[in-house]
Amino acid sequence: MKEKGISISFYSMRVLIKRELISSLYGWGVYAAMFIAFLVSSFILRNFLRGIREENIFISSYPLNFPLFVSVVIISFYLVVVSAISISREREQGTLEVLFYGPVSSSSFLLGKYFTDMILYMIILGFSAIYFLGVSLLTNLGFTYLLVKAFLLSIFLASCVISFGLFISSLTGRVRSSIIWLVGILLAFLGLWFLQNMFLTFPPEAFTSWLLYIRKTLFVTQHIINWVSPFSYLSRGMESIRIGSVKPFVLNIVYSIIYTVVLLFLSIYILKAKGVRA
């Protein structure tokens, strides 16, 4: 009986993935996001190439890693928005309620959404591999082992971004509020980061005691954000590739998996608690 239940959940998840994936691939969003990401990368690479002049050398193990990082950030923004509106849209349109009358459970629905976005990222990664291979052939910049490593790591970082988006979406009932929440949270992260950097430019002696409290509070908050924001995982991951050491690379993968599992678990719990109606 239990086995039958699992197979039904698995089947409904597969159907959901197929439906969502086809819908995403038939839309223009994913292609536009990739185009913007590659356009920005091309701009960076063109300027980099112009910088290597006659009688001038440049030594690097990974000249393509920074453009890859930039394109992963842009694509992550697209993915986080897509996943942030995915549940709230279904809830708003009432399809979530209809689905839940059938053999769809909260976990199979959410995991279906998660795996759809992950497969979508894999497809984007395929496009990125073709683009960077093309760049390497055109310019002779090395498509190195470190770039392959960065590609591999980006899968786990995308997983963080997607689960974060799904978590936001599970909290909200409408598409508009999902977007507002997402933009608000990201702006808050950015604002706190900016404020902390602003405080760091002044020596501690320049502050009054209450400003010192604010500075310290910001410092602690930033520490927390470093573990909450999916984009922090992204920058830490890319830094681990720059370092070239195995330990931080593996640790980043482990942290990303933990982050994903925790957020997915929370999202399922919230979805169950909140119900299917907007």
Partner: protein
């Protein structure tokens, strides 16, 4: 309605609790920081630095290549040294001040430099494992004071080396005295020679004069090595591990401020090959190509001078702290440290399997362009052309011609004795295709093209 209100109240109380928690944590953290600041007593920015008497450790430690000096102020609690090498450490009292421009503590050695007497105790897991007395030690520079090599001597050997240097120096001064005397004699003889020539010419003598021309004496050469004056320090040589050190005074008490942690580390990898690259157009701004994964990117014509080194890989944080305890670094990072130059090799330039060039090491001299304009030339050095000058550097000149096809090339070092290639010396040189830079924009269009195809296929399907 009531449910909604309750929800809002709950959310608000969680938020207030969170803020309260963060506030409490920050207040505690701030109090700790203030305590630390108080301990450090870091002076604020002022024109005259505040000098404070402190016990500091001064050292000459092995840095992977030779021995370098430094000191550890009270603000740092750990000393980093390399395992199984002799390191000279001594405790001194000096005046320490904070220099705000570099944000570092500095020592005023000239004002106060007092030795702290006692025995250095080394502890591991709370037990004293070694007690060290001070020993004589010197640094021996086999290629002279400006040379790259240094050798450490301690005890009797240190005194022997210093005596050897003193003898060589005394002999040089003696030879110099003889040279000045000989030079005076030479000038006298030269004057006599000119007088004799003048006298005989005035007497009407024509044709070649059979007078011996006085020979100019050659100046003596100073010792080609250098040895520092013997110093008395504790010589610490330990295997990898974590230790503590302290100084026990002659009266049996522990000297205040002498307790420090001692972290002994070693290299992760040994026997690597690194390059220092001197670009022809900016010889003072040298590049390093140490990691085997490094690729050298170039475009157009390039004149490069390669200087190969043996190298060991150390943890960045530990090595940076060894070079200066006030340095920063990352424990996850690793860095290559050049040990000694590689000699008796050729630099081989390959296009896949085809050897394009075999380059030998040559000395070069940098000559400033005469006149007020800036600029210089790097010329091959020969004693005949530059008799009174020394070469600026030695290296392997590789000219990357603009005619080379823009693809990947390799360089290797090949041993002179048997032509065997050194695998660790392989580096890739890639000549970039700058002309294709504009095509990159077209490449970024390809997702849109795929999207267009998918859209058309779908449209056709829908129509059907």
């Amino acid at each position: 309605m009531i449910k909604k209100r309750r929800k809002i109240v709950n959310l608000l109380s969680i938020f207030v609790l969170l803020i309260l928690l963060i506030f409490l944590v920050t207040q505690w953290g701030l109090a700790q920081e203030e305590k630390k600041e108080e301990e450090k007593k870091q002076p604020t920015i002022s024109l005259a630095p505040v000098l404070r008497e402190e016990l500091v450790y001064r050292w000459n430690v092995f840095d992977g290549k030779g021995w370098s000096g430094g000191f550890i102020p009270q603000s740092e609690d750990t000393i980093y040294i390399i395992a199984n090498k002799d390191n000279a450490i001594s405790a001194r009292k000096t005046l320490v001040y904070f220099w705000p421009i570099t944000a570092r503590y500095m020592a005023g050695w000239k004002t106060l430099n007092e030795q702290v007497k006692g025995t250095l105790e080394i502890l591991q897991d709370g037990k004293v494992i070694k007690k060290l007395k001070k020993e004589d030690n010197v640094l021996y520079y086999p290629e002279g004071f400006w040379g790259e090599k240094t050798v450490f001597y301690k005890g009797e050997d240190a005194n022997k080396q210093y005596q050897k240097y003193r003898k060589a120096l005394d002999k040089y001064y003696e030879d110099l005295k003889k040279y000045y005397e000989a030079r005076q004699e030479y000038r006298k003889k030269l004057d006599e020679f000119f007088k004799e020539v003048k006298r005989r010419r005035e007497a009407g003598e024509k044709g070649p004069l059979d007078i011996e021309i006085p020979k100019e004496p050659e100046p003596p050469k100073g010792p080609d090595f250098y040895v520092t004056e013997p110093k008395k320090d504790y010589i610490v040589n330990l295997p990898v591990g974590k230790y503590q050190i302290r100084i026990r005074a002659e009266d049996g008490t522990i000297v205040e401020g002498s307790e420090k942690n001692l972290f002994v580390f070693t290299s992760r990898r040994k026997g690597g090959v690194g390059y220092e690259i001197i670009p022809g157009n900016r010889w003072t701004k040298r590049e390093e190509c140490n990691d085997p994964a490094n690729i050298i990117y170039a475009a157009g014509r390039n004149v490069l001078y390669f200087r190969p080194y043996n190298q060991d890989e150390y943890n960045e944080l530990y090595h940076n702290k060894l070079m200066d305890p006030q340095n920063e670094g990352r424990e996850e990072n690793w860095k290559w440290v050049h040990t000694d130059p590689i000699t008796d090799v050729f630099l081989l330039f390959y296009d896949e399997d085809k050897l394009l060039e075999k380059v030998d090491k040559k000395p070069y001299i940098v000559q400033q362009i005469p006149g007020p304009e800036l600029g210089y030339n790097i010329l091959e050095y020969t004693k005949e052309e530059f008799p009174y000058k020394k070469p600026t550097f030695e290296g392997y000149q590789l000219i990357l011609s603009e005619k080379l096809a823009p693809h990947g090339y390799q360089i290797f070092l090949g041993k002179k004795e048997n032509n065997a290639l050194i695998p660790e010396s392989r580096r890739e040189i890639r000549l970039v295709r700058k002309k294709n830079a504009n095509f990159l924009y077209y490449l970024s269009l390809f997702p849109l093209v795929v999207g267009g195809i998918v859209f058309t296929v779908r449209l056709r399907k829908v129509k059907k």
